[in-house]
């Protein structure tokens, strides 16, 4: 698809701009839907009904929220480092946005079929840490600084189990290309890597328990990477007020918000591509053409987004040292053991 767009605008930068802007077509509607979904899911878990007045069952409320944020005064504290303060939210968003370049939405469309896909995702998504640290420091607020330092420690720690879990799957698949990973799993639900991948039965049976553990590690660690409860300690509202984005208002705050939701989809999408077949239909070749691929991808992605929302409104928050404990003493050793086992299986079969 990218080639086709470029061929429409020969000798012009316009083609690249259009390709670059394409993910926005997805992110903006997705954010609106997810804000609505989160509020409604939370409400129904808590015996409430959430918004009901703007539009049918409050469906227009996310638009109203965004309109409100647009109108809000954009406050920059006098004592803040102005340049960094303004730059930070965009940097956070860039880190998230850049990962959309490699997400394979269907077999026809992936922004770039990069061979180092997974490596790229892990590397680029770390840029958000810089943005968060920057926002916390530039705000000149002690609570923000606490939030930023916690966020930095947390995201850096949790990248290790995520990376180890993903690498184990890469060893099985033999590729880092997210598009190729999806294609490998397109032969129906039992070809997905969570069920051992498209291999002979013995190898599959050996891989299934390991894959399941790896999936749990990836799910937990990715939840920590997007700073959501039970790992939302960087913005723990009962401790740090709002963490690194305490001082932000108006559109800058909205961009933090958007980045958080976009990031939520990215980590869910990575889980989907690596373990759950990406755009592949669960029924093999049935319902597996054109638009259906996009449908399956978004559906699976939203399923994991919903799981994140569900856990957020169920569980209490961990403490900062317990969070580190989970990462370094539980997830990382398990991921390492899994990686070694996967290596042995790959070598012997």
């Amino acid at each position: 698809m990218a080639e086709w767009i470029l061929s429409q605008f020969p000798d012009s930068i316009l083609g690249y701009v259009i390709i670059g802007a394409l993910p926005l077509l997805f992110i903006l509607p997705y954010a609106l839907v997810t804000i609505y979904l989160e509020m409604k899911m939370a409400a129904h878990m808590q015996d409430r009904v959430a918004y009901m007045r703007t539009g049918w069952h409050g469906t227009l409320q996310p638009f109203a929220d965004i309109l409100k944020l647009l109108q809000k005064e954009d406050i920059i504290p006098t004592a803040a480092d102005k340049f960094l303060f303004i730059l930070a939210p965009y940097l956070v968003f860039i880190g998230t946005y850049a990962t959309f370049a490699v997400l394979p939405f269907s077999s026809q469309y992936a922004g770039s079929e990069l061979y180092l896909g997974i490596y790229y995702v892990i590397a680029v998504s770390s840029i958000t840490v810089v943005g968060i640290l920057m926002s916390g420091w530039a705000s000149n607020n002690k609570w923000s600084l606490f939030g930023a330092l916690r966020a930095a420690a947390q995201i850096v720690s949790y990248e290790i189990p995520t990376a180890l879990a993903l690498i184990s799957v890469v060893m099985v698949a033999g590729t880092m290309n997210l598009q190729v990973l999806s294609q490998q799993q397109s032969g129906g639900i039992f070809d997905w890597y969570i069920f051992g991948g498209p291999f002979p039965i013995v190898k599959k049976l050996l891989l299934i328990p390991i894959m399941f553990v790896l999936f749990l590690i990836q799910l937990t660690a990715s939840m920590a990477e997007v700073n959501r409860t039970p790992f939302d300690i960087p913005e723990a509202e009962s401790e740090l007020v709002q963490g690194y984005n305490t001082e932000y208002s108006g559109m800058k705050f909205a961009i933090f918000y958007l980045a958080e939701y976009a990031n939520l989809f990215v980590v869910s999408a990575i889980t989907v591509v690596v373990f759950f077949g990406g755009w592949a239909s669960p029924f093999g070749n049935y319902l597996n053409s054109g638009g259906w691929e996009l449908f399956w991808f978004v559906l699976k992605g939203m399923f994991f987004v919903s799981i994140n929302i569900w856990l957020r409104w169920t569980l209490p928050r961990l403490r900062v040292d317990q969070l580190m404990y989970v990462s370094w003493k539980v997830l990382t050793p398990f991921a390492l053991v899994c990686m070694i086992l996967v290596g042995l299986i790959v070598v012997s079969f």
Partner: protein, 382 residues
């Protein structure tokens, strides 16, 4: 705790403690409490509570009323989440001063109201404690059931938060006929909610990890600081004014005093204080059940004095509020207004122990400790 590090160039780097304000505008100080924290990174070295942001001169105002009855709405506004218990306590002091014997029915209704209010107050304590730990959903479950209690109050006296219901010598209204069936319905429903709260919060692994062994208050420290209520009982001390200095008709009911047992950590930690409140709600239900089934007939206003003009003298009346021993010391000079009123506020006394029990824990733990003390700033500052 100042550390001096030498860099490779021979220059010195110093680490310093940071002073940071928690409040008065902070989500988890339960009102306008300001905690001045001295922190070393995330570790709390010292906590200095600053109070007085909600001071409304209750005691001074009371001296300038036209009569004793007018003090009761002010008493409501002290501990605004447990107004019934405040009124109850003040009425006990006032009746002691006037040497009035109130009818049996009045005492029974007062006990029902006080225990319903205790449940409502503990629901707020439990719910907001959950929020402090990061669990939002139990809070709304708590408020859903608190709403039912407020409906019962509204049905009885028309008000939902500040009632002016328990008067010296009687009550403002009798129970409406539909109160008893509604209250029975509530008791049945609420037993389910307690189970729900236990499943969702009390025995949640993360919740236990966050609260067990945190903010341990040993029994001797609790007694030395004068802590009362769930704070004291959480430390394993069996002390409840309803049993130990029984008042009203509490001696006619069968209930247990819940104490902290240190099930998941040390006796006197945040989890114990929390669990004492959960268990007390069950005991309050038992008291309400018994009181409803044996409610005597009679007048509710026969003992209300036409004119309150006590003899000169002084009196101290106390009762067990959800936060502990709430007492009123009243000095009368023989006129229709009190010469002096002093409130012994349990929340104030309980709060004083915070710097003692939160040193060395982390900021996140301090939030848990503040939540487990269950302060109401209206009562701390008065």
């Amino acid at each position: 705790m100042e550390t001096v590090l030498k860099t490779s160039h021979g220059r010195t780097l110093r680490t310093e403690e940071m002073v940071i304000n928690m409040g008065p505008q902070h989500p988890s100080t339960h009102g306008v409490l300001r905690l001045e924290l001295v922190v070393d990174g995330e570790i709390v070295i010292d906590v200095i509570p600053h109070i007085g942001y909600l001071h409304r001169c209750f005691e001074k105002h009371s001296e300038h009323m036209t009569n004793y009855q007018q003090v009761i709405p002010y008493v409501d506004r002290m501990d605004y989440v447990a107004a019934m218990n405040n009124e109850f306590s003040f009425a006990i002091a006032g009746e002691k001063l006037l040497k009035i014997q109130v009818p049996e029915r009045v005492e029974y209704i007062r006990v029902i109201m006080a225990e319903l209010q205790r449940i409502a107050s503990h629901l707020i304590a439990i719910g907001t404690f959950g929020i402090d730990i990061g669990a939002f959903t139990p809070f709304l479950f708590c408020f859903r059931d608190r709403e039912k209690i407020l409906d019962l109050f509204e049905m009885t006296c028309g008000a939902r938060l500040l009632y002016n219901y328990i008067w010296i010598g009687g009550l403002s209204h009798d129970l409406p006929p539909e109160f008893i069936p509604k209250a029975k319905e509530f008791i049945v429903d609420f037993r389910k909610t307690i189970k729900e709260i236990n499943d969702l919060l009390s025995y949640n692994h993360i919740f236990i990890k966050r609260t067990a062994n945190i903010g341990v208050l040993p029994a001797d420290v609790a007694i030395n600081f004068g802590c009362t209520g769930p704070m004291l009982r959480g430390s394993g001390v069996n002390w409840d004014l309803r049993k130990n200095d029984t008042y009203s008709v509490y001696n006619k009911f069968d209930f247990e005093v819940c104490v902290g047992k240190g099930e998941f950590g040390t006796v006197g930690d945040c989890w114990d204080r929390y669990m004492v409140r959960v268990n007390e709600m069950e005991q309050s239900l038992r008291i309400i059940e018994q009181a409803i089934s044996t409610l005597p007939e009679g007048s509710i206003s026969s003992a209300i004095p036409k004119r309150v003009r006590p003899n000169p003298g002084e009196v101290y009346g106390r009762a067990e509020s959800p936060r502990g021993e709430l007492g009123f010391y009243i000095v009368s000079d023989g006129t229709g207004t009190p010469y002096r009123i002093k409130a012994r506020s349990p929340a104030f006394v309980n709060l004083s122990v915070i710097s003692e029990i939160s040193r060395g824990y982390m900021i996140a733990d301090l939030v848990a400790i503040t939540g487990s003390i269950d302060i109401v700033l209206g009562e701390v500052d008065r």
